[in-house]
């Protein structure tokens, strides 16, 4: 646990904890209307005592919006990453463990998907499915799956060659048993690390999709949506972009730092 005591580890842990707290508790203390209530006499107001982070083009309080937006962003990113793990994990494990033709076919598919930039993939899927919360999750989840499958496959390949797996196989243990008892626990650290880092990318992807109008729907508060709306008011009200931008930055920064440290802790090879 020494690794967590480096300044980077500390910052990462603090940031992630902070964001989780805000994400969990902001909706408890702030009523949902606070993020959508408009005030036409205070449009694009700079930060003041009443509105510590200023207001947007419809006079909505940016402090409330950014606080409530935390949960939206975390929910989407979390669900998308979970989805990519649920699909990518078995895919990668089977591919790496079975090898041969199965591996070849699966990896050719993964390669094909990897040739499309993740954002382009998410953009197209979102255009096909139509914009709403679930579809945003699906779009990001699918776009991230090939990356996860690739990593899992590599790990599974490595673990499958370990002597104790060979031993289990020669003693007649079924493949399903080997996969769940021996391989899965050994690749989990890598999956957790990759998951944390993917979470950071998923938050960026959600922001990107919302920015193009394909993600979260208004009037719900989401960071990407807030940045998108700020585009037209940049030069007269820069805070409308800076507030959600900083929220994204701190979250992703925290997750990345946390992920780095997690890797050092969980993955003995990276020492």
């Amino acid at each position: 646990m020494k690794k967590f005591r480096t300044s980077k580890g500390l910052i990462g842990v603090v940031l992630v904890a902070l964001i989780l707290i805000v994400g969990l508790f902001a909706p408890v203390f702030i009523p949902p209307e606070a993020a959508t209530a408009m005030n036409m006499t205070a449009r694009l107001s700079p930060p003041t005592w009443d509105h510590p982070f200023g207001t947007d083009q419809l006079g909505r309080d940016l402090f409330y919006r950014v606080m409530l937006g935390t949960q939206t962003s975390l929910k989407i990113a979390g669900a998308a990453v979970l989805m990519s793990i649920v699909i990518g994990l078995p895919l990668g494990m089977i591919s790496g463990y079975a090898g041969g033709r199965t591996d070849n076919v699966l990896m050719r598919l993964v390669d094909t998907l990897l040739a499309f930039p993740a954002l382009l993939l998410a953009l197209t899927i979102s255009a096909i499915l139509g914009p709403n919360l679930q579809n945003t999750i699906i779009a990001i989840g699918i776009a991230f799956t090939p990356y996860l499958a690739r990593i899992v496959r590599g790990e599974a390949l490595r673990v499958a060659q370990m002597p104790y797996v060979e031993a289990a196989r020669s003693s007649g243990t079924t493949d399903v048993m080997i996969l769940t008892r021996h391989i899965l626990p050994n690749i989990m650290p890598a999956v957790i690390v990759q998951g944390t880092i993917s979470l950071a990318f998923a938050i960026l992807a959600e922001a990107g999709l919302s920015f193009l109008g394909l993600g979260t729907q208004p009037p719900a508060a989401s960071w990407g949506l807030m940045i998108q709306a700020s585009r037209d008011y940049l030069d007269i009200a820069p805070w409308t972009a800076l507030v959600p931008g900083l929220a994204v930055a701190l979250t992703v920064l925290g997750l990345n730092m946390f992920g780095d440290v997690l890797r050092d802790v969980l993955d003995p090879r990276s020492k």
């Binding site: 959508t36 006499t41 419809l58 139509g130 037209d232």
Partner: protein, 517 residues
Amino acid sequence: MKRRDFLRNSTALIGGSVVVSSAMFMPTALLAQDTPVTGGTLIWGHSETTQNLDIHQTGTASSSRVLQNIHNSLVTVDENLGVIPQLAESIDVSDDGLTYTFTLRSGVLFHDGSPMTSTDVKYSFERVKDPATGAVSFEVFNNVASIDTPDDLTVVITMSSVNAPFLSRLAENGAGAIIPVGSGDTQGTTPMGCGPFKFARYEVGNVVEMERFDEYWDGPAYLDRVLAREISESTTRLTGLRTGELHMINDIPLDRVGEIEADPNLQVVSWFPLNFDFVNMNHNYEPFQDARVRIAFDMIIDKEALMQGALWGQGATSPSAGYPSAASYNTDLVQRPQDIEGAKALLAEAGYPEGSLNIVFKATTNYPYHIETAQILVEWFRMAGVNLTIEQLTWADWLSQCWIDRDYQMTMMNFFALWEPDYLFYSVWNSTGAFNYRGVNDPVIDELTERARGTVDDAERAEVYKAVQQQIFDEAHDIVLWFRNGTIGAQPNVMGLDTVVHPNGSNLNFHKVWLAA
């Protein structure tokens, strides 16, 4: 508490209601002018990307705005929206309304130097009429039985039945644009006609360049060239104008118009109306089959506050979509004032008590102010016990879901202010109209709009259209919100801007525009 804040604050804004005349209002500085000089390249920051350049096919305002300068039409409209000849010299309509005889102007040249004759007119009209061309205005020629060309300068069109709006429809939307015989296939890439400017260059997404056509029949334009630079980001366009990179821009961001108007170093031309907006309810969706529900929804909306909120005051509310200065505009109508309690009662009476209606509102990101409108509506509808959920759609998705598949509950759209009443009321509200994407099916409107087509007397026709507007309003088939202003911002040395906006309010015409030293 927050809800009331919104209401109070927004109504507080309505103190001075916006007074807009249907004529253009111009900065006084422009009234004193020297004599025009020839020369110079005008750089115009165009708000949209130009696409298909075929004037007969394209239905997008962006392309028409540019093509207006390359093409001329057989007939056009004057400031009072009367149909006047353009490439025709005179028009003769037979008493039974079935035969139109056009005498063409002599000496009109196409950009390739060839003279325009009756065969070109016949070719152009037959091209539009042919469904295989995919022309937006093809139905204009539905009743046309034959197009004859007795000599080079005479065109005779015979109709199978009376179609009173025929001439005014010809003046709209490129229906009457004349292109040289055989040029149809190349119009999409290299448009050519007999307008004041020749097409020079098109760089996809960047620029359309036009140069003066010296042999233009109505006298050559002043400008050597017009460079339409495509800049879709509105704040970027504004910055370009501020830094002097651009001579003029169309569509000043709504929230910045006041600021630019106050700037002594820039001119603003604004005109009214550019387009109208209305909230649509799908008539095939069960709750909206009951007029009480539609009327209640109308009562939930405070149009003036909504206009201030979404348009930053750049428009004027209107109970009817009829063209404000047209003789057929129904001036007796008054928008329903906001009455949340009344709306709740009416909804309950119709069988929809508070909390029982959950409605998806589809709005397109193509018009950012539609998204703002929708967000404000959500708040009011919540107060009235109706749960509104917004779905943002790209333009393609809006067109395919709402326009073509009619798969929506509520949405909103804008149309360019259509001064031609048949085009407007028949297309949008007749049950068989081409733009009836709401599934409006009202026998009264069907009968009236059909009757108007056969009514040759103008005053009598105007009365029929007033009755149509009354019926639309009484039944709240749609909730008409407002007419939006059009705006142009320009450097002080751009002259002749009072002529740039076509009377139809959407096209720009650079024939009489010039640059002072």
